[in-house]
Structures are given as C-alpha cells and as structure tokens.
C-alpha cells in the first residue's frame, strides 16, 4: 500500500545532507532584511520553436508561484524572477507556463547559515546547483490526427464490416470448394453434434475481455 510512497523521504533526506555539507552557496539568496530572504532564479525555456507556443513571446505569460499561491512572480525578459522577504524554511516553487511541464522545486532557505540555499526538483529529486528552472517536457494538448492510410479505413468499423463481408461472400465459397468432400462431411457432422454456436455462449467471454 503506502509503503512505496513512504520510502522516499529517507532517500531525499540523505541527498539533502550531502548537499548541506558539501555544496557551496548555490545561488542568489541574500538576507536583505532581518525578516526575510530573497530567492531569485531563472526560468529557461529552450527555444525549440517547433510549435506555436514555443515562441519566446509566450514567456511573458509564465508565472512563478511560491508555496502554492502565497506569492506570484512574473518573469523579466531574460527569464529572471525574484521573491523578496521570504522567511527561512523549506519552500516550494512552481512554474506555470502553458505548453510546458515544469517540476516543482523545493528550496531550503536556511536561517542558521544565511545565504546557504539548496534546491531540488521534486519530480525526479534532481539537485539543482543553481536555480535555473527548465521544463521537463513540452506539453501537447491536442491529439494529433493520424495521416490518412488505407489501414485506418480498414480498421474503422465500416471497413471491418466491408472486409468481413468480402471474406464471407468471396472467400468462404472458395474455401468450401477447395475442401475435401470427406472432410467437409465430417465437419458438418461435427457441427450437427455440437449444435450451432449461439451468441449466448459467446457473450460472457466477450464481455470479460472488454
């Protein structure tokens, strides 16, 4: 049951200890005032430009969200963002940009060692050495229409119907013709003994496999 989900923290904590002891001050966090720190980072979208929404103009509609909506920040033209006056603690940063999937990032702002900050993607637990957020993948919101192929027509219910009729009309007589008369008689007898298969004894099997 829940064991799988519960086993994660240990791993995560271990990796964090590692970072705490070895990683240098990773990125811009400054203690400007007594009551808070500043988290700044950068959102970087590789300009693949394959599709419409990969254009850099759409970056102006991206938002960076701290702790599930506590604060919302916007991106500068170069992708930088800043949160001011953030208290020490472990925070969550999310990026909302249409067309991209960003992993939320956990950011630890340490009160004891001002300036020491760790960040890690929560989706794949990757540790970030600097707060540069890149999308894990692009998101395609629409189904892609498959190009026309003979197979798609054949596979459609109507195509199947036609195909089946063609088989019954043209091939079945041929099959019967080619059959050995002896075998044919035997098969017919067998059929008579078994009784004609009805739809009723087909159904349970069909239903189960649905």
């Amino acid at each position: 049951m829940a064991t799988i989900t519960r086993s994660n923290p240990i791993l995560l904590i271990l990796s964090l200890y590692f970072v705490l002891s070895y990683a240098p001050a990773a990125f811009a966090i400054s203690s400007g005032n007594v009551d808070g720190y500043t988290i700044s980072g950068r959102v970087k979208i590789p300009s693949m430009g394959v599709r419409g929404f990969a254009l850099p103009g759409k970056l102006s509609n991206a938002k960076v969200i701290l702790n599930g909506g506590q604060r919302v920040s916007f991106l500068m033209p170069d992708g930088y963002f800043t949160f001011h006056n953030v208290p020490a603690g472990t925070h969550l940063i999310e990026v909302a940009a249409i067309g991209y999937f960003f992993s939320p990032v956990r950011v630890d702002v340490s009160a004891r060692n001002p300036g020491k900050v760790q960040a890690a993607l929560t989706e794949n637990r990757r540790i970030l050495s600097e707060l540069v957020l890149e999308p894990l993948r692009e998101e395609q919101y629409y189904e892609i229409r498959e190009p026309f192929s003979i197979m798609s027509v054949v596979k459609s219910p109507m195509g199947l119907m036609m195909g089946f009729m063609v088989i019954v009309v043209f091939l079945m007589p041929k099959l019967v013709e080619n059959m050995d008369p002896e075998e044919m008689r035997r098969a017919q007898e067998e059929m008579r003994n078994q009784g004609v298969p009805t739809l009723a004894n087909l159904l349970p099997g069909a239903a189960r496999s649905s």
């Binding site: 829940a2 208290p87 395609q140 190009p147």
Partner: protein, 975 residues
C-alpha cells in the same frame, strides 16, 4: 465462423474502448467549449493615446488584474493576474513606454512594457509600517532628465529610477509617526512635500530634496478640532480636510512648508446641511467634492482658503480626475443619473459654467449606478477637442462613451462569480419543426463529403476552413430551446456585484442579466453580499406551464449575523418575481428533498440564533414538512472551536411573535476536536443530487463488494495548529493531518486516519462511496492525493447463493441511516505534481459512466484525471484478471497527461471553482470552471459510447452500404 464472429466482436470492443482519456483534436476547439476572458471591476485606468498606432487603455481591477484594452473595441491586448494578496494600489505610465504598477500595499513596484505586457523590471520596496500607498509619476518626464518615480509605501518615501527600477534614495518617515496622506512635487521643482497627520490633530509637512532625499524641513502644526481622515488636494500647496465632527471644512495651506489653517462651516456653505459630510476622493484643481446628506457638492477654494459652492447635485453622480490638455488647461468629467439616462459633462477645471461637452446616453437600468469615470481627450478632425469617457458601473461592467454613444461595453461582473446553478431551457414550441432537415439534401451531402475528406486527410486548406466554419456556426448549439441530449442549458451565475446572469451553455452568451434589488446597496442595506443561488422551482411533472425559478440568498452586511435577503428569479424571463428582507440571519441553507404541488423545493434556512426557518411559507409546505419532521437531521461545524454538531428539529419557536414556519432544534450529538492538537481546515460532503447507479462492485475473483452509499457522510480534515500556515512555516515533525469520515445522522466516526508530516491546504471531493483529497506532504515535500473508499461489510455475506435460497440473508432489511453497519475502508496515497485550486468530479445523469476528477491546477488549467488512477486497489503487479477489470499497475505518482487537460491550451485565470452538471445523454457531463475567466465544455469520461461522435462520417457509412449492395448484386449475378 464462430471464431470469426468472436474476433470481430473483440475487435469492435477494442476499438471502442481503446483510449480512456479525454482528448481533443486541434480543429475541434470551440465546438463544444467556450472561454471568456474578463478582468473584473476597474479601479484605475490610464489612457495611452498620445502616440500613433493602436490606442489603448490600461486598467487595474479589484481582481488584481492589470490589463491593456483596445480602446476601439474593448478587447484585451494583454493581461496579468497578480497573486491573491498582491492587490494593485495604483498604476501610471512612465517614460511613455512602461506601465508602472504599485501593489502589495506599496511594497512591489513593477514596470510592464506597454505594447506586449512583458515585465521590464521589478523593485521591492521595504518599509516597516503599513501605511497608505501612493505612486507619483512626474508628468513632465523627459527621457534625459527627470526619470524618477516617487513611491510612498509602508511608511517610507522612495525615489525609483523609471529606467531600471533601481531605488535611488529612500527616506524613512516612520520614526515621526506621521501618517502621510499625500506626496506633492510642484511642477518643475526639486522639492517634494509630504503631508500627513500625526495623532488625530497634528499636521506635518516634510520638505524633501528630490535629488537625494534629504529632509530639508519638517513643520508641524496642531489643529484643535482634530481631523477625520480623508483629505483632498486642491492645489500644489493646499489640502482640504474635515474636522473630527465632519461639519467643518479645514483648508491646510503649506506654502513653502509653513502651515496655516482656515475653517469653513459646512452649514454656511450649504443651507440645510445637517449630519456628516464626506470628502469624495477626487483629483480636481482648485476644487473638491463633498458628499453631504444626499447632495454632492462641488466647492471651489480660492488662494486664501476661501470656499464657495459651485454646484450641488441631487442625483447619484461620479467625477473623474482632472485631465490636463492643451495650453495648461484642465478638464474633468462628471456623470449624473437622471431617470434611465446618464448625462456626461466635461467641464473646464477653472470655469464651472463652461461645458466642453454635454452628452446624454440611454443606459440599461440593470447596470445600476455609475461608480467611476475616467476621461481622455482626442483631437477631432476639425482640430477641436473631443472627449471620451470610460465608465465603471455598479454591476462592474465597463463602458466606453464617445460622441453620445456607447462604443463598447464589457460584462466584467462575470469575473467575480460567487455561485452557479443551472436551469433547463423551455421546450420547443409546437409549430417549429424539430427535425428540420439541414437546408436540403444536396447541401447536407456536400457537408458530409467535406467532412469525409477531412477525416481522410484529403482536404485542401480551403476545405478545412469551410469545415471549421460549418462546424462553428452551427446554430443548433445556441438555440433557446431544450435539446434531446440535454446539452443546452442555462447557467445561472451569481456575481459579487449582486447581478445575476444567465449564460447559454452553447456559446456562452448572456441570455439575460438582472441587478437584484435585494442585493443593491441602499440606506437599509449598506453592504449587501450575495451568498448562494439554488434551484427553487424545477417544473417537470405537474407544473409544466410554470417557468422554473431560482432562489438567491444573500445577507445585508459582512458579518454572519446580518439579516438575510431572498430573491426569486424566473429563469426564462430573467424577472425578479419576489424579494424579501428577512428578519433573521442566514447561517446555513439546506435544500430539502421535498417539493410542494407547484414543484417549489422546500428550503430550511438556519440562523445564528439556532432557529430553523422553512421556505416557502405556505400551508402546504408546512404540511409536507410536518410529515417528514422526525426525519430531518443536519450538522453544523464550528471551525474556530473545533466542534461538529448534529441537530434534530424539536418544535416550533418560542418567540414573542408566533411564527409557525420557525422551528427550534436540539443537539443530537457533538464531536469535539481538541483544539490544542487539531484544527478543522476542510470539509466535504456528497452532492445532494448525485446519482449512484450500482451499489455493488464486482471484483476480479467474482466477489462482490457493497459500496457504503450514504448521503449523510461528511469528510473532515484537521491539521495540527502549527501547520495551519503556508508551506514552509512548519517542519514535518510538528505537522500532521487527520481525516475523518463522519455519519452526520448518528455522529459516528466511520473512519479516522492520520497523515504524519503532512499539512494543508486540503481540497477534497466526495462522491458515491469514496473521497479523494489533496494535501501537502512535508516529508517528501510533494503534494499527495489520497483516496478512501468505504464498503459495507454487513451485506458482504449476501453473495452466498444457499443463504439466498434459504432466506438467511439480510437483503430485505431496509437500509437505514439509524443502523450501524460494519464498514471497511480501503485507502491509498499517490503523489501529485501540482498545487490545486479546486477539485470536482464529473456527474452524469444515471451514474453509469465512470468518473473523472476535475482538478483545477495552480497553472489555472483543469485536468481530467480518471478515477481509475486514484483507486485503492491498484497493486504493483495486477493479475491478468485484475488487468482485465481495469486496474492500473501501481505507480507512486499520478500521471499528468497533457491531452487530458479539458481546458487544452487555455487558462481559466484566477480559477476558483469547477462545477459539473449531467447532460441527459448518459455519457456526457457538462463542466463549467470559473475564476476571472469563464470556461465551459462537455466531457465524456468513457467516450461518447451512446451517440455518434460529431465527426462521424455519414458519407463513409453511405459508401459502405452502397458498396455492400453492389457486392450483393455482383455476387447474385455471378452465382
């Protein structure tokens, strides 16, 4: 042969159930869905009309939106929705290319690029004390010299460079404990004056060097009468304030920092004045506006502080700020109501008698009063000055007036939806043929040939455009009558302005809208707030000729014990049938499952004095109610004290005034949650109108599990008091989340579970026998979604055939809320990537179709997640039988499939709620998501198994039939 049939059937089944997720092709956008962007009630507006190119107006609104609108058509160029607690204080234009916005009580200053809305810079202004926040952008800004913005916020005065947002200097005015009211920089001077009050009667003037922020002088003077707060600046060296009794106007002159007072009794200015006066916030020159009793009085102030009344207006009116135009002249706009018309006058600042412009415009009375007006000038073709006015109405709509006509209007009240319900449309009238064949057969065939070409990917671009046009303009979906599939309905939407809208589900247009009398601000009701809207009368059997109506419940004030108001609105005509001001308050509204002979639903309204009031107030209702009297139970939750109580009706009220529709209640049970360790943060119940198709669930091993389906289940989530704050404020050790499933009739706790190291916010949805809730796991630092399913164990033995035969079963025992069946629960948790703003579940007419969770994510998108993913029976390695049943192998996190976003590439900005209503067609559910934007779509969680899809190719079917007939003939001839 048998095998062939079997394979064929299997193939068919496979084809029909291949993809369980909701998905959309790009060319299907707009066929079943619509999206409407809004901005909310405008607070500030600045025009950008100086340069050539497209003229715009930039607005900030009460929904924390900053938007740039096209001045010609009112469309949105760009828009930013700021965070929930990042309210915009002021906006202005600097350098001709940036929009400067000051938000979060004067602590965040941002510059937005005017053409595209890209943020250019952001500056965080620190201060220590909450105060008024002011933004001052000098108007004579030259690109080389004066590019400094003055900001006062949190007790500090900041000078910020408008080029990069750098703070040039900062002057802390906190130590002087002065509440600064205004910051003035006389035109072209290097001196800044900051004027404020300290204490209640002392005026302080700071003279500050604009170059470096050096405090040159600090003067203060006491006024014995005291001040009452608001001030109005009449010139660059004079303010007007009211004394503490609000009957004397005080002009405060601070010429060169020297303070002098001059008093004027209002009764000397206005003859029959009595009571209190209020200075209206306006920025006029040499003049200010005062509201005294019912009048709005304009008072001119001369150089020595002498005052004289210029005009007094008896009607509701609104004034704009002064607008400088040519040769140092200033103009301002004034809008007055007279009957159904509004009069717009633009006057010269120094000369009241001259009217630059006088227009009167007929306006829909359902827009209410004018709340705000902003004016802008333009040069007409004959080189004279023309003026346009942007007005904000009581219903939050925005209108542009120019040349005596409404150029455009926006229904921005729809950005603040409070509650939604639906109503059916009228039946199609006899005489209008329902089955009218589209145009003629040829057109119809042509259309389908085009579609066929489309599906076979043979269509040329022109054909594709023709197909798209054909689909979108299909008038079928926006008809004003009920359809067979139940897709066409009215969404009845209650907004914060007290306006009720009916939106057509087909295309989202406003069918009617009404500003409710009972929810308008009036003498008796200072702060009306709408609460909920309910279906009041849904005629179906024996009141067919009645129109359906809705009940709107509100209260007359902000606190819970304020008296309630009720309104009844006909949903066909949009007329307010009736409205009441209640004598009692409204704490809770319970729609009862009973209707009277006119199909009016009985509602029980509970007040804060623990009385229950029955509506409608008619003898028949009381008769029905008396019959069901002992069967009515309800619960109440006191979040602050952590008490959940169950109530039962007792007897009629013991009031001085006999009221047979009022009942007392008594407590039946109570659950006290220890407040030192737990605090209630979320509750969820099943929807009252939810339909459950089957009670039993057949598991893989031919076993039957009985769902515990009870309408009286309540889900409650509590967290430890330390973990009630935001994420990051508590450590995993000190936070825990506890969830309860409670039977609200008996008060029995059916299930209790603790999630250690977790905290809220909790969003939960309850349906059938399961509840799904979303919360934050601090240990893993990820969001989680948990499911609890509850099964009835007492009926588990019924599957034994022998017991059934011998009659040793309990199938005949009635299912009762009083019994205490044995229940078992199954639960499981999964990680979920995003923060969640709202969560709902699809509902269908008969409850046969499988369910999808509708999750409103932090990115303002709505994700449809199959309930099968959130199943407690998922295992790592499901057996073959389990796979066939549809059990998905266990993963630690829930998948986010981009194609299953029902909002596809759109965002429902500021998402607040999602509702789902069943269509008549079992497979389909209608989904409406609201926030600042509105979004509506139809979804089919198990695909449209009961109807042909929209892109079904009839032509291909015809072709097939023709081909088959041909084949039959061919074979007939051949044989």
């Amino acid at each position: 042969m048998a095998m062939a049939i079997r394979v064929f059937m299997l193939l068919l089944l496979f084809l029909s159930s291949s993809n369980p997720s909701f998905s959309l092709y790009e060319d299907q956008v707009g066929l079943m869905d619509w999206h409407q962007p809004y901005i909310g009630k405008v607070k500030h507006a600045v025009f950008q009309t100086q340069k050539a190119g497209r003229k715009r107006v930039i607005v900030s609104t009460e929904e924390n939106v900053i938007a740039s609108l096209d001045l010609r058509r009112g469309e949105i160029f760009w828009r930013h929705v700021l965070g929930g607690n990042d309210a915009v204080d002021e906006i202005d234009i600097a350098l001709g290319k940036y929009l400067i916005s000051l938000s979060s009580e004067g602590s965040i200053l941002r510059a937005w690029n005017l053409p595209d809305g890209q943020m250019a810079w952001e500056s965080f202004l620190q201060g220590s004390k909450p105060s008024k926040s002011l933004l001052f952008v000098p108007t004579n800004m030259k690109a080389d010299k004066d590019n400094v913005i003055l900001v006062f916020g949190k007790g500090c005065l900041h000078a910020v460079s408008s080029i990069d947002g750098e703070v040039l200097w900062k002057k802390d005015l906190v130590d002087e404990s002065v509440e600064v009211q205004n910051v003035i920089q006389p035109l072209g001077s290097d001196i800044i004056y900051a004027v404020g009050f300290s204490g209640s009667s002392q005026v302080d003037v700071f003279k500050i060097n604009a170059k470096n922020g050096e405090l040159l002088r600090h003067n203060s003077a006491a006024f014995p009468g005291g001040f009452s707060g608001e001030v109005s600046l009449v010139s660059s060296d004079m303010l007007v304030a009211l004394d503490a009794t609000r009957s004397i106007l005080v002009s405060i002159s601070f010429l060169d920092g020297e303070i002098s007072f001059q008093q004027t009794y209002i009764s000397n200015l206005i003859e029959d004045f009595s009571g209190m006066a209020v200075i209206l916030p306006s920025k006029l020159t040499g003049m200010f506006a005062v509201k005294a009793s019912t009048f709005m009085v304009f008072i001119r102030v001369t150089g020595e502080g002498k005052m004289e009344v210029v005009d007094s207006i008896n009607h509701a009116a609104a004034v704009s700020d002064a607008l400088p135009f040519s040769e140092g002249q200033q103009a301002f706009g004034l809008v007055r109501h007279e009957g159904s018309k509004i009069h717009l006058t633009v006057k010269l600042g120094h000369d009241w008698s001259s009217d630059l412009l006088k227009e009167s415009i007929e306006i829909d009375h359902h827009r209410g009063l004018v709340h705000k007006v902003f004016i802008n000038n333009y040069i007409r073709t004959d080189r004279s000055y023309g003026f346009r006015a942007l007005i904000v109405m009581e219903d939050h709509s925005l209108m542009l007036l120019q040349q005596g006509a409404i150029v455009w209007s926006r229904e921005d009240g729809l950005a603040s939806v409070i509650d939604v319900t639906t109503s059916e449309l009228p039946w199609e009238k006899a005489g209008v043929s329902v089955a009218k064949v589209e145009h003629n057969l040829f057109e119809w065939l042509k259309g389908h040939m085009l579609k066929l070409k489309g599906t076979l990917m043979l269509a040329s671009p022109e054909d594709v455009a023709a197909i798209q046009g054909m689909r979108l303009k299909s008038s079928e979906k926006s008809k004003m009558t009920r359809d067979h599939n139940g897709f066409r309905k009215l969404l009845i939407v209650l907004t914060r302005s007290g306006k009720l809208y009916a939106l057509h589900t087909g295309d989202g247009r406003v069918v009617w809208s009404i500003l409710l009398r009972s929810l308008r601000k009036s003498e008796a009701c200072e702060y009306p707030t709408g609460l909920n809207v309910y279906q009041w009368q849904v005629p179906h059997h024996h009141a067919m000729d009645e129109n359906p109506s809705v009940l709107v419940v509100g209260r007359c004030g902000l606190s819970e014990d304020a008296p309630g108001v009720l309104s009844f609105v006909d949903t066909y005509t949009g007329m307010e049938l009736n409205s009441f001001n209640l004598a009692h308050s409204v704490a809770q509204i319970i729609p009862l499952p009973f209707t009277d002979s006119t199909e009016q639903r009985l509602h029980l309204i509970l007040d804060t004095d623990r009385h229950a009031h029955l509506y409608p107030k008619n003898p028949e209702a009381i008769g029905i109610f008396q019959r069901e009297f002992p069967n009515i139970y309800w619960y109440s939750i006191e979040t602050d004290n952590g008490i959940i109580r169950g109530h039962v009706l007792k007897h009629s009220c013991n009031l001085e005034l006999a009221d047979e529709y009022c009942f007392d209640n008594s407590d039946l049970w109570s659950i006290v949650i220890p407040s030192e360790s737990e605090k209630i943060i979320a509750t969820a119940t099943r929807k009252l109108n939810e339909v459950v198709h089957t009670q039993a669930k057949v598991t893989t091993d031919q076993d039957v599990m009985y769902k515990y389906v009870s309408k009286n289940m309540l889900f409650v989530a509590t967290v430890s008091p330390k973990a009630t704050g935001e994420i990051g404020s508590a450590t995993p050790e000190e936070s825990s989340l506890v969830v309860y499933l409670i039977d609200t009739v008996t008060g029995r706790i059916l299930h209790r579970m603790t999630h250690q190291g977790s905290q809220g916010p909790v969003h939960a949805v309850f349906s059938e026998n399961w509840v799904v809730y979303h919360y934050f796991n601090l240990r893993a630092h990820r969001y989680e979604m948990s499911v609890i399913e509850i099964y009835d164990q007492s009926r588990a033995d019924n599957k034994d055939v022998w017991k059934l035969v011998l009659g040793k079963h309990n199938l005949t025992t009635p299912i009762s809320s009083y019994s205490r069946p044995e229940v078992i629960t199954k639960y499981q948790s999964y990680f979920f990537t995003h923060s969640v703003k709202a969560i709902a579940v699809t509902s269908t007419a008969k409850g046969i179709t499988s369910k999808q969770l509708l999750i409103g994510t932090i990115g303002d998108q709505v994700l449809a997640l199959d309930k099968r993913y959130v199943d407690p029976r998922r295992t790592i390695n499901p057996s073959q039988a389990e796979r066939e049943e549809g059990i998905i192998p266990l993963t630690d996190s829930l998948p986010i499939i981009p194609q299953s976003y029902v909002t596809h590439t759109l965002k429902v900005e500021g998402l607040r709620g999602i509702i789902s209503v069943p269509a008549k067609l079992e497979s389909t559910s209608l989904v409406f998501a609201y926030g600042v934007d509105l979004f509506f779509t139809q979804i089919a969680p198990s695909k449209t198994y009961d109807s042909l899809t929209e892109d079904f190719s009839y032509a291909l079917l015809l072709l097939t039939i023709v081909a088959l007939i041909a084949a039959i003939f061919v074979t007939w001839v051949l044989s």
